[in-house]
């Protein structure tokens, strides 16, 4: 079972590049920045907010 992301962290985290809001994808354990088109991985409950570790979103994924 994957550890849930700490709610306090979820409250204060934003996209490091756009400073825009993030979407928490519980299934994939990712924090998604629609504006930047990037998904930041959460590993062992630790959000990895580094651009070079983020997964670029494909077109079908973006919601904005």
């Amino acid at each position: 079972m994957t550890p849930a992301l700490d709610p306090k962290l979820l409250e204060i985290l934003v996209c490091p590049l756009t400073k825009g809001p993030l979407r928490y994808d519980r299934e994939r354990q990712e924090l998604v920045s629609d504006k930047a088109g990037l998904a930041f991985p959460i590993r062992d409950g630790i959000p990895i907010m580094l651009a070079d570790e983020a997964r670029p979103l494909d077109e079908t994924e973006t919601r904005s």
Partner: protein, 300 residues
């Protein structure tokens, strides 16, 4: 952002830290010492800081030193190296000081222990820190100053000139305390103060110092450093030169670490500030000769 002044290779900074995280407990002496000194400053502040960030947390030294100080209830620990962040425990984030992932006005307090000297765009990082602070929030940060490792710098220079016929930057450049106050002010902080402190560590020999620096993840990450492995002859020459120049009568050598501590507040209306020109309520001439009287003429 920041690409125009790229002094440090941030990938290398991260790599050094990832590597150091494996065996940090044997080499974290300096981090623990400066973490203690940093959080002691909170004792002088009569305020509580419920939500705090430790930016560049290494193995969580500041978090452990805090130990209930400053009324911190929630501490977020962040490091460029995910391996370091994992080591720190608690609420953790891997992030880059140059691209902070925190919403405006998230924290009452931002602490940073010996990390900001690896940032290329320090003015940019300070602006982002200021925005992440609530109004009247406090930044309390140490970074390594320009006097740091002056002995090692000297020894490398001598060794490279002798063995390789030229010298490149072996020891990273550090911050100058004279710049720090101005930087904080330009980043929009109020009441900025920068002060310096020197810690001299005694080592049995210079090799032990170099091993320790590697163990802390604090070895050179200058972008245009000499690439590739250090030649053995140069390394031995540097160790010998260090010994020759600095050893005491027992053969031990000193290593200087200068820490620059930055204290600054996110602006808030209640803070003391100079009046706007023409905003005086008492005439200077009256204040200088006898009883001050209110200014009676209305402003133009």
């Amino acid at each position: 952002m920041g690409d125009d002044i790229r002094i440090f290779d941030r990938q290398v900074v991260r790599l050094h830290r990832d590597r150091a995280a494996r065996d940090l407990a044997r080499h974290d002496f300096l981090f623990r010492e400066t973490a203690d000194r940093l959080v002691e400053r909170l004792d002088d502040v009569r305020r509580r800081f419920p939500v705090a960030l430790d930016l560049g947390c290494h193995g969580g030294e500041v978090g452990r030193a805090l130990n209930g100080r400053g009324g911190v209830e929630t501490l977020v620990q962040a490091d460029l190296s995910p391996a370091m962040a994992r080591l720190a425990g608690g609420r953790r984030v891997a992030c880059d000081e140059e691209f902070l992932p925190f919403a405006p006005a998230s924290f009452d307090l931002v602490l940073s222990n010996l990390s900001l000297h690896w940032v290329n765009d320090l003015p940019g990082a300070l602006v982002q820190i200021r925005r992440a602070l609530k109004p009247d929030g406090l930044l309390l940060a140490t970074m390594l100053g320009g006097e740091t490792l002056k002995e090692l710098r000297h020894a490398w220079m001598e060794a490279e000139l002798a063995e390789e016929g030229g010298a490149g930057p072996r020891v990273s450049p550090f911050a100058d305390i004279r710049d720090a106050g101005g930087l904080l002010q330009r980043a929009g902080f109020a009441l900025p103060v920068a002060d310096a402190d020197t810690i001299t560590v005694s080592y049995p020999d210079a090799m032990r110092l170099i091993v320790d620096l590697r163990g802390m993840g604090e070895t050179n990450a200058v972008a245009d450093r000499r690439k590739g492995l250090t030649r053995r002859a140069t390394l031995f020459h540097a160790v010998a030169a260090y010994q020759r120049a600095f050893a005491d009568d027992q053969g031990r050598v000193p290593a200087t670490f200068q820490t620059v501590t930055l204290t600054a507040w996110a602006p808030h209306e209640a803070q003391p500030r100079p009046l706007r020109p023409g905003g005086a309520s008492i005439r200077l001439s009256d204040a200088l000769n006898g009883e001050p009287r209110p200014v009676d003429d209305s402003p133009p």
